[in-house]
C-alpha cells in the first residue's frame, strides 16, 4: 500500500472500487487495486474543486458598482494576462485569455498547495506538468488549425518548399520538444523547491525554513508565469500570418 495523504485516503476509501473497475475495463491493471488513486491525482482533484468554488464565488458576486476584493483580484489577473497576450499575439488575443488564465490559476494552485501541511504539490510529480504541457500543446495546435485551416500545416513545411522533406521531421520534433521542455522545467523546479524546503526543515525546524518557503512561493509564481508566457508565445507562433 503506498503512503497516502488524508485526502487521497478519503478518495480511495470512497472510489477505489469504481476506479479499479474502470481501469481494468480499459485493460490497465493498477499497482495497488485497493488504492488506485495516487496523491498527485487527489491533489489535482482538490485544486479543481477549490478553483471551481472560487470561480463560482466570484461569478455570484460580480458587481459593476461595488466590486469586492475577489473581483478586483481576478480582474487584475485577467487584465495582466490580457495585456501580456496582446503584447505577444497582437489583435484577437482576447479569445485566448480565458484558457491562459485558467491554466495559470491551475498551475499556481498546484504549485502552492504543497505549502499547506498535509498536502503536497502535484506539479512535483512529472505526470502532472506533462498533462498541463499536453493541454497547452493541444490547445495551441487546435487554435492554429482553427485560424488557418489546413494551411496551418505549411508552418511545418518551412519557408522553402524544396526543403519541406527535411523541415517536416525537424518541425515535428521541435514542437514535441516544447512539450518536454515545459514539463521538465515545471517539474524540476517544483521538485527541487520541495526538496530544499524539506531538507532545511529537517535540519533546522525553526526560522530558516521560512526563507525557503518564501523562495518556494517565488519559484511557484515565476514558473507559473513562464509556463503561461511560453504557451502564449507558442500560440502566437501558431496563429501568426508569418512563418
Amino acid at each position: 500500500m503506498p503512503e497516502q495523504l488524508w485526502f487521497t485516503a478519503l478518495l480511495n476509501r470512497l472510489f477505489a472500487g469504481p476506479v479499479t473497475a474502470f481501469l481494468r475495463a480499459i485493460h490497465i491493471e493498477p499497482h495497488h487495486p485497493a488504492a488506485p488513486i495516487p496523491n498527485s491525482l487527489a491533489m489535482e482533484i482538490l485544486v479543481f474543486i477549490f478553483l471551481l468554488i472560487l470561480f463560482f464565488a466570484v461569478r455570484s458576486r460580480l458587481s459593476v458598482d461595488r466590486p469586492g476584493a475577489l473581483q478586483h483580484m481576478f480582474e487584475g489577473v485577467e487584465g495582466f494576462v490580457q495585456n501580456q497576450s496582446n503584447e505577444i499575439i497582437g489583435r484577437h488575443s482576447e479569445a485566448y485569455t480565458s484558457f491562459l488564465v485558467a491554466l495559470g490559476c491551475f498551475i499556481l494552485s498546484c504549485n502552492l498547495i504543497g505549502l499547506i501541511p498535509g498536502f503536497e504539490s502535484p506539479t512535483a510529480v512529472p505526470i502532472v506538468p506533462l498533462g498541463c504541457a499536453l493541454c497547452a500543446f493541444i490547445y495551441y495546435q487546435g487554435q492554429g488549425f482553427k485560424h488557418a485551416g489546413i494551411g496551418y500545416l505549411k508552418h511545418f513545411a518551412g519557408p522553402i518548399w524544396w526543403l519541406a522533406w527535411l523541415m517536416l521531421p525537424i518541425e515535428i520534433i521541435s514542437h514535441l520538444a516544447r512539450v518536454l521542455s515545459l514539463t521538465i522545467r515545471l517539474f524540476a523546479n517544483m521538485f527541487a523547491g520541495d526538496m530544499v524546503t524539506l531538507v532545511f526543515f529537517s535540519l533546522v525546524p525553526l526560522g530558516v525554513p521560512i526563507i525557503f518557503i518564501g523562495l518556494h512561493i517565488g519559484v511557484s509564481l515565476l514558473q507559473t508565469y513562464i509556463f503561461v508566457l511560453l504557451t502564449t508565445v507558442y500560440l502566437q507562433g501558431a496563429v501568426s500570418e508569418e512563418y
Partner: protein, 80 residues
C-alpha cells in the same frame, strides 16, 4: 521605405518587456536537450514499430537539428 506592417497589429519597433525576454531565454537552456531527447524517443518508437535498430540514431540527428533550428529562431527573434 516604410516598414512592412505587422499582420497582427503589433508595433515592430516596440521592445519586449524584461520578463518576456527572461522567459524566452530561459527556454533556450531546455529546448536543445529536449529536442534531442524527443528525436531519440521518436526514433526508438519507430525502431520498436518497424523492428529496426538504427532509426534512433537518425532521430537523435534530427533532434540535434531541431534543437539548433529552435535556438537560431529564438535568438533571431530576440535580436530583431
Amino acid at each position: 521605405m516604410s516598414p512592412t506592417p505587422d499582420p497582427n497589429n503589433r508595433d515592430p519597433d516596440r521592445k519586449e518587456n524584461f520578463w518576456v525576454q527572461v522567459a524566452r531565454y530561459s527556454q533556450l537552456a531546455f529546448i536543445f536537450p529536449a529536442a534531442v531527447v524527443a528525436g531519440w524517443l521518436i526514433g526508438l518508437a519507430l525502431d520498436h514499430w518497424l523492428h529496426t535498430t538504427w532509426i534512433y540514431l537518425v532521430g537523435i540527428l534530427f533532434g540535434i537539428a531541431a534543437g539548433f533550428v529552435e535556438l537560431i529562431r529564438a535568438t533571431m527573434r530576440n535580436s530583431r
